[in-house]
Subunit: 394 residues, 2 copies
């Protein structure tokens, strides 16, 4: 039988992450932290399965040696095999708690009460995916004396500066992004159905490289065409591509849940002059922003470099041209911490990873070109190596 | 340019859905309904884009001709092209509201206040995906005089009985499920990397059929192998399949967001005798449960037919062997209404669709075999046509 060796980090790395999280809890006076975002749960425990459609909660306290994972009975093996937790720190609920009047947050409240923490200060990720309003209310009702604090970004902020091992996974993911982009550029042709191009791009994303297989991304490839390029979040249809239309392809290779997003715009035939000019402005702006990246610079200063470069051109200023990225589960690979936009004073540090994705939209089409980059002592290391230009297919 | 004709239903069908929803609102005394579940939003408005990682809200009132969609500025074209709503019923917020102190629910509260509904009864999907605890609190704080009611299942329940057009999409999706399953059975072999099999299965899922292209499923193919088959929610690794191990393949073809899930277990080599016996029990139990399906029968009666069939065998009773299905977005294709389990008294009606997925787990592996079926006047119509048995590859 295939070995289940899905833990991509040594135990010591998980312990470092836990300690840093506990340190931040102490700074904020938190006695308990409830983690529900699947990306944060993966970061701290290693838990990795497509089971986040039912409630799952990781409980962190300041002095514990391991967090406690609470999930569904049938996901026990997932927890045993993918986490570094001892069996005693895996707590299960039965299917009676699924789509039911019973709710797993009631069990969490009981555990917190048993530990003598019922009237303490508890951090809850109020704006995380998969913490429903109901889950919050079940907790609130079961722990009326607790002080609940919003800790939506606490673990996300710990995740921002990557370890060298995490950086290596980003680089491996970028190899997959390159391959999938090359397949997309090759396959997208007049007369080809969009779904067949999507099939080829996915094949490349999952076959990965000889070194690493690919994983499902938090967002499927977005590949709007024609007028659809005005809508950055469309996927694909069963229509055939037509000569004369643009196609945007935004995708991300994924290794051990680390994403390296990449976007190019492909023109099927000779593009209008304004499309070429706009693409040049975007590329020049991207180049200028990447040039501005170095440790100690703030996110808004990087955005300013973009804005100054494009000033006076046809391209209008965007309010946000990028964001930090890393671990992702559906529906997003955005870390929700730093944004490359005016007012964001986050200071760049080595081993942060960002996706910078400016675009321009005309009345009936749009153009986007993006890069993921690593912050190094020497500036930005662009992760993927695909020509940074409007791709024109004659 | 490719035509954007992504509305798979005539306007009259959307109007019927809206009227039925408004009817149920009146029965419950609701003045406003806020819909955040992407599946419910798609059902009522047609909105279809991978943008649900930012807040989106569909506002329904009892007497309106169209609902109002509230979303991000850059998703305007998605809304214009995929919904049946007039431009005036599409309300946008700027990127200042994204990952920020500002929250779109504040705009929704302002609109509700302008309409004179600030102290009325408002339905909120408390347990829906993508309504965060924070979104709820922003609404609660901005409308202190409103009565908020939990309407998590209101639209889901309207969705349960499909129209003939929806049924047709389920059938088309089942053609894709069959094709992807055949590719999986063909590709999964000792020495093949799991990620390469995943690549081939995805290729089939998206290429679809000549008639229809395939779309991204709410859950990627789950394909645990070996000991991993004890964990139904694992996806795939980069390991090679080994002779002698089982592989579970659970997947769903998707057409216009309608899912037809299908599961088979593949044994690479001669299975242990207990695996063959367990598979026979599962198949007999599935047959018996499918035989019990007819309009007027309850979900728990269907489960009882399964339970009686497997009584006295090696297979233990499951608490839930199926659920209604239909439209899906990540993270789930479960409709969250009827479950095939003891205590569920939902009465089957023609044009309901269910996914029945019993399984059995031994110490170090598991077996699952599933079918999606339509309730018809004549009983269950099984949607996919793949041999209902343990697939043994010599």
């Amino acid at each position: 039988m295939a070995q289940l060796a899905r833990r991509p980090f040594p135990e010591a790395e998980y312990q470092d992450r836990l300690r840093e999280t506990q340190h931040r809890m102490e700074e904020r006076g938190l006695d308990v932290l409830l983690v529900t975002d699947p990306a944060n749960m993966y970061y701290l425990s290693g838990y990795d399965a497509y089971s986040f459609y039912v409630p799952q909660i990781l409980i962190v306290t300041p002095d514990q040696q391991q967090p406690v994972w609470v999930g569904r009975e049938q996901d026990l093996t997932c927890a045993v095999e993918t986490t570094w937790l001892d069996r005693e720190n895996i707590v299960l609920y039965s299917d009676d708690y699924v789509d039911s009047e019973l709710h797993p947050m009631q069990l969490v409240a009981d555990m917190v009460t048993d530990w003598g923490e019922a009237s303490k200060t508890i951090g809850v990720e109020m704006d995380a995916y998969y913490l429903s309003a109901r889950a919050y209310h079940e907790l609130r009702n079961a722990l009326p004396d607790a002080t609940l604090e919003d800790t939506t970004k606490l673990v996300n902020e710990v995740r921002m500066v990557k370890s060298d091992r995490e950086v290596e996974y980003h680089r491996q993911a970028a190899r997959i992004s390159e391959r999938a982009m090359e397949v997309g550029i090759e396959t997208i042709e007049p007369g080809v159905r969009e779904c067949d191009a999507a099939a080829a791009v996915h094949e490349a994303l999952y076959a990965g490289t000889e070194e690493t297989g690919g994983e499902y991304p938090a967002i499927p490839p977005l590949m709007p065409s024609g007028e659809g390029t005005g809508s950055p979040h469309l996927t694909w249809t069963a229509d055939e591509y037509e000569r004369g239309e643009p196609v945007i392809l935004e995708l991300a290779g994924v290794v051990n849940r680390y994403h390296s997003p990449l976007t190019r715009t492909i023109f099927l035939g000779e593009p209008p002059e304004e499309a070429r000019r706009a693409s040049n402005v975007i590329v020049n702006g991207l180049d200028a922003a990447l040039e501005a990246v170095e440790p100690g610079v703030t996110c808004e200063e990087v955005e300013m470099a973009w804005r100054e470069e494009i000033a006076g051109t046809m391209v209008e200023k965007e309010s946000r041209i990028g964001y930090s990225t890393g671990i992702g589960y559906p529906p997003s690979w955005v870390e929700k911490t730093a944004s490359i936009r005016p007012g964001d004073e986050t200071v760049l540090q080595p081993n942060m990873v960002f996706h910078m994705i400016p675009g321009v939209w005309f009345d009936d089409y749009g153009i986007e070109i993006s890069e993921s980059f690593l912050v190094t002592e020497d500036g930005a290391e662009v992760l993927a190596d695909i020509p940074r230009e409007l791709i024109v297919k004659e």
